[in-house]
Amino acid sequence: MRGIVSWGAYLPYRRLDRSHITAFLGQGGGRGTRTVASYDEDTTTMGVEAARLALTATDATPELVVFGTVAPAYADKTNATSVHAALRLPDAVPALDLGASVRSVVGGLRLALAGGATSLVVSADLRTGLAGSADEAAGGDAAAALVVGEGEGVVAEHLGGASVTEEFLDRWRQPGEVRSKVWDDKFSELTYVGLGRQAFKEALAATGLAPGDVTTVAVAAPTARIGKALAGKLGVEKVAGDLTDTVGATGAAQPGLLLASMLEDAEPGQVLALVVLADGAEVLLFRTTPALASFTPARPVAAQLAAGAPLTYNRFLSWRGMIQLEPPRRPEPARPSGTAAARNVEWKFGFVGSRDTTDGMVFLPPSRVSIDGERTDDMEPAPMADVQGTIATFTVDRMAYSPSPPIIFAVVDFDGGGRLPIELTDTDLEEVEIGGRVEMTFRKLFTADGIHNYFWKGKLIRG
C-alpha cells in the first residue's frame, strides 16, 4: 500500500482584506481575504515551514525531496537544497526542483506516488499581479508538503488516477516577471471544464469507482470560478471548500493545500479525489485508512486560518515591490559570504548550535571552546529549530536597515539552555513583552547581490 503518510500546510500570518484594494485604488479587490507572505518570506522559506510541519507529524524519513513553485527564489541554483539544508536531511537524500509551473507540482506528486522512495513533495507559491488586477486580489500565498510512502503509516492510500495534457494559452509569464497574463477567462473555463471531466471519468474507470463512491472532491484551479464550474459537474456529492474566500488561489501550493485540508476533514475509509487543472487535468484518487484516525496534523489548516492578522494594502504593495518606500538612511547590508555560509550551513540553515558535553551549556552560534575557556571541542550538536524560548528583553529599531522597517528584536532564552538576540517576525510591537514565548521560523533576512540571505527569526507563540 502506497500513499500519503503525512502532510503539513503553511499559511503565512498576514491577511489582506480585498475590500482595502478597492478602497485604495478605486478598482480591483473583492470580498474576503487573501494570505500574504511576509517581506521576509519567499517560496523556499514557506516550503521549509510546510515541510517542517509535515515531518513533525510523522516518524517517516524522506529519501527524496522534490520542490515545486511558480515563483522560485533562484534560477540555475537549486532551491530544494535550501529546503533540504533547513530540514537537516542527510546529504545522500536527493533534493530536486520541479519546473516553474503549477502542473509540475502535481506531476511531482504523481511521480512520488508511482515511485518507491519515501518522498517529501514540497510546493509553495507567492501569487501576485499588478495593482488592481484580478490575480492580485484572487491570489494567495501558501505552501504544502506531503510525505509519500508505504506501509502502515499510510493515511490515504493512492488508488490511481488519470492525466490529460493539453497545450493551450490559459496564463503565462516569462521567467522573472512579477505577473502572469491571461488570454481569455471564458476560453480557459470552457477548456478546463472539458479537460477535468474527461480526466475524472478516466480516473474512475481506471480505479473501478463510480462518482457516488467518491466521498469528497477538491478542485485546484487557476481561478475559483473555473474550479466551481467543474466541481458541480463531477457528480460527487461533497465538494471540498477551495479556500479562495480566505486564502486565495495559491497556484503551485493549491493541490497540496487542498489535499491537506480535505484529509483534515476526512474519516477513515473515505474516497477522496483531487483534481488539478493546470495545462491539462490531473486526477488523483485516495482512500483514507484506519491510520488516519490516529494521525494528528502538526498545525491544521483550520487553525492557521483562524490565526492570521490583518495587513494594510499599502504595506502589501511595498512588500511586493509595487511601491518603493524611502529606506532608513543607513547602508544596505553586504552580501553574505558564500564560503562562510558553506562552512556554517548547519547553523545558518539548520539552526544547530553546540552543547557542551561537560556542563551542558548551549552556544548559539556553535562554539568550539567552553564558556570558561578551559576545554576545546568538547561539544555536541544542539539542534534548536524546534525549541521554544522566552523573551528576556526586547526593542524596536527604527533606524537599522530592513526591507520593512522597523525591526522588532528580542533577546530569546531557549528552553533547556541557549540564548540568542534575534529579530522577531510576524509580530506587532504592542504584542511583545518580557516573558513572551517565541518559536523559530526560517526566513530571508535580505537579498544582496542576488543572494538570498536565509536564516532564522523568532515569532510569538499566540493563544
Binding site: 547590508p333 528576556a392 526593542t395 529599531d397 525591526i407 538576540p421 536565509y454
Partner: protein, 399 residues
C-alpha cells in the same frame, strides 16, 4: 600573574582637541594636523622631540601612514590602533606603556575619525565577510534593551525611567552648552527630550549621542621627566582594559542591567590606583554616554552607586555639574558626538583641563577637594553582552 598598572610612572604633559562638529570643510588630515599641533604647543615640544606615535582610528584609515603622511613624520614608529569605540583610549594606553617601559622618552597619541563623509546617519561599521547570520541592529537598539530590563529588575516604572534618562540627557547638554568645542551647545528642556522622534525602543533622538568629526591628541612621558615640559602634568594612576568574550549574547544569566566587562575593568582600575571608595575619591568622571541608559548603568558598574540605585542618584543630581561627583562636565558624547578614534582622548582632554584648573569657570567642577582628587575616564565599544571597556584614572599630583 597580575595587573600591576603604572601608577604615577607616566604623565600627560600636553594635549589638543579640535572642535567636534559635522566638519564638512575639513578632512581627516586637517583634523589630525590641528589636534597634533595644539598638543605640541601645549607641551612645548616639536615634532622631532617625539620619539614614537600611536594613532587611533576605527575606520578612517589604515596603518600608521595615515598619521605619518599628513604630519610628515620622518623615520618615526607610528602604530595604528583599533579597539572599537575605545580606540582613542587604547592608543594612549599603548603610548603610556611604551614610555613607562623606557623604550621611548616622549610619545604622542593622536586619535581621529572622519565620520561624516559616508552620507549615512549614525556610525556604521565596515562589513567584514560573514555568513549573514549576525545581527544588524543599530547601537541605539542594542542599548535600548537596557531600559525595560533595568526597570523590570528594580521596579522602576516607565515614567520614572523616562525622567531618569531625561535628566541624564539634560545634564550633559547643560554641560555641553558651556563648552566651545562641543557639537551641540544648547540646553534642552524635558519636553524637547521626551517629544523627540523615537529612534529605537523608547530612546528618542536626545537619548542618543550625536555624530561628529573630530580629533584629539596627547603627549606622554615618564613621570620623572614631566616637569621638563610643564608645571602642571597630569599623572596616570590607572589604565585598565577588558575585552569581553561576548558571553552576554549567549548566556541567559546576563540580564541587560549591567556591563560585566566594565564592572571588571573598574575593579582592576581602582586596584591599580589604590582607590578604595570610588564614590568618595573620584572628583569627576567622563563616561561613555553613547545613550542615556548606558550612562545610568555605568554609574553602578563604576561603583558610583549601589546596584539598583543609580536612577535615584541621577534624579537627586549627584552627577550634575554642581553635584557631588560631576559626570561628563564637558558635555559627554551627548554634546560632542562620537568620532570613534578621538572620543577617548576628548574625555582625557576634559580631565586634563579640570585637573589643571584650566576649565572655563562656567563649567569648572567644584568637587576637587581634599581626599577627592581623581578624574576618571571611561570609554566602551560594542554592545551590551559584547563590549570592550577602558578606564583611566588621572590625578594632578603624585602620591
Amino acid at each position: 600573574m597580575a595587573s600591576h598598572g603604572i601608577r604615577d610612572r607616566v604623565a600627560i604633559v600636553g594635549m589638543g582637541c579640535t572642535n567636534f562638529v559635522e566638519n564638512w570643510g575639513k578632512s581627516l588630515d586637517d583634523l589630525l594636523i590641528d589636534a597634533a599641533n595644539e598638543a605640541y604647543a601645549s607641551a612645548g615640544v616639536t615634532k622631532d622631540d617625539v620619539d614614537a606615535y600611536w594613532f587611533g582610528t576605527a575606520q578612517s584609515g589604515m596603518s600608521g601612514i595615515t598619521l605619518a603622511r599628513p604630519l610628515h613624520l620622518h623615520n618615526k614608529p607610528v602604530t595604528r590602533v583599533e579597539n572599537y569605540c575605545a580606540t582613542g583610549s587604547e592608543a594612549l594606553r599603548q603610548a603610556a606603556y611604551a614610555v613607562a617601559s623606557g623604550a621611548y622618552d616622549l610619545a604622542m597619541v593622536v586619535g581621529g575619525e572622519k565620520v561624516k563623509d559616508t552620507g549615512f546617519q549614525g556610525l556604521n561599521a565596515f562589513p567584514i565577510p560573514n555568513d549573514g547570520t549576525a545581527r544588524t541592529l543599530t547601537a541605539a537598539a542594542m542599548f535600548s534593551m537596557i531600559v525595560p530590563a533595568y526597570g523590570h529588575k528594580y521596579g522602576v516604572d516607565d515614567d520614572t525611567m523616562r525622567s531618569v534618562l531625561t535628566h541624564i540627557a539634560r545634564k550633559n547638554h547643560f554641560n555641553g552648552a558651556r563648552n566651545t568645542r562641543a557639537q551641540f551647545r544648547k540646553e534642552i528642556s524635558a519636553e524637547q527630550v521626551e517629544k523627540a522622534p523615537k529612534m529605537a525602543g523608547t530612546l528618542g533622538v536626545f537619548d542618543c549621542a550625536g555624530v561628529a568629526d573630530g580629533a584629539a591628541a596627547a603627549i606622554v612621558c615618564r613621570a620623572e621627566d614631566a616637569h621638563r615640559y610643564t608645571d602642571t602634568p597630569v599623572y596616570v594612576k590607572a589604565l585598565s582594559f577588558v575585552a569581553g568574550d561576548g558571553s552576554g549574547l549567549i548566556d541567559p544569566s546576563y540580564d541587560y542591567t549591567t556591563f560585566p566587562e566594565i564592572a571588571a575593568c573598574a575593579v582592576d582600575a581602582y586596584a591599580q590606583a589604590g582607590v578604595k571608595d570610588a564614590r568618595a575619591e573620584v572628583a569627576m568622571a567622563e563616561v561613555h554616554d553613547c545613550f542615556t541608559p548606558t550612562e545610568l548603568v555605568l554609574m553602578e558598574d563604576l561603583q558610583f552607586s549601589e546596584r539598583g540605585t543609580a536612577w535615584r542618584d541621577v534624579l537627586d543630581g549627584v552627577f550634575d555639574l554642581d553635584g557631588e561627583l560631576p559626570v561628563n562636565p564637558d558635555g559627554g558624547l551627548k554634546s560632542f558626538g562620537h568620532p570613534t578614534g578621538a572620543s577617548g582622548l576628548r574625555m582625557m582632554f576634559e580631565a586634563f583641563l579640570q585637573l589643571r584648573g584650566e576649565a572655563p569657570a562656567e563649567r569648572a567642577i567644584s568637587s576637587l577637594v581634599e581626599g577627592r582628587q581623581l578624574a576618571l575616564t571611561h570609554n566602551l565599544g560594542g554592545y551590551p553582552g559584547e563590549m570592550v571597556s577602558f578606564i583611566s584614572l588621572l590625578g594632578a599630583s603624585k602620591d
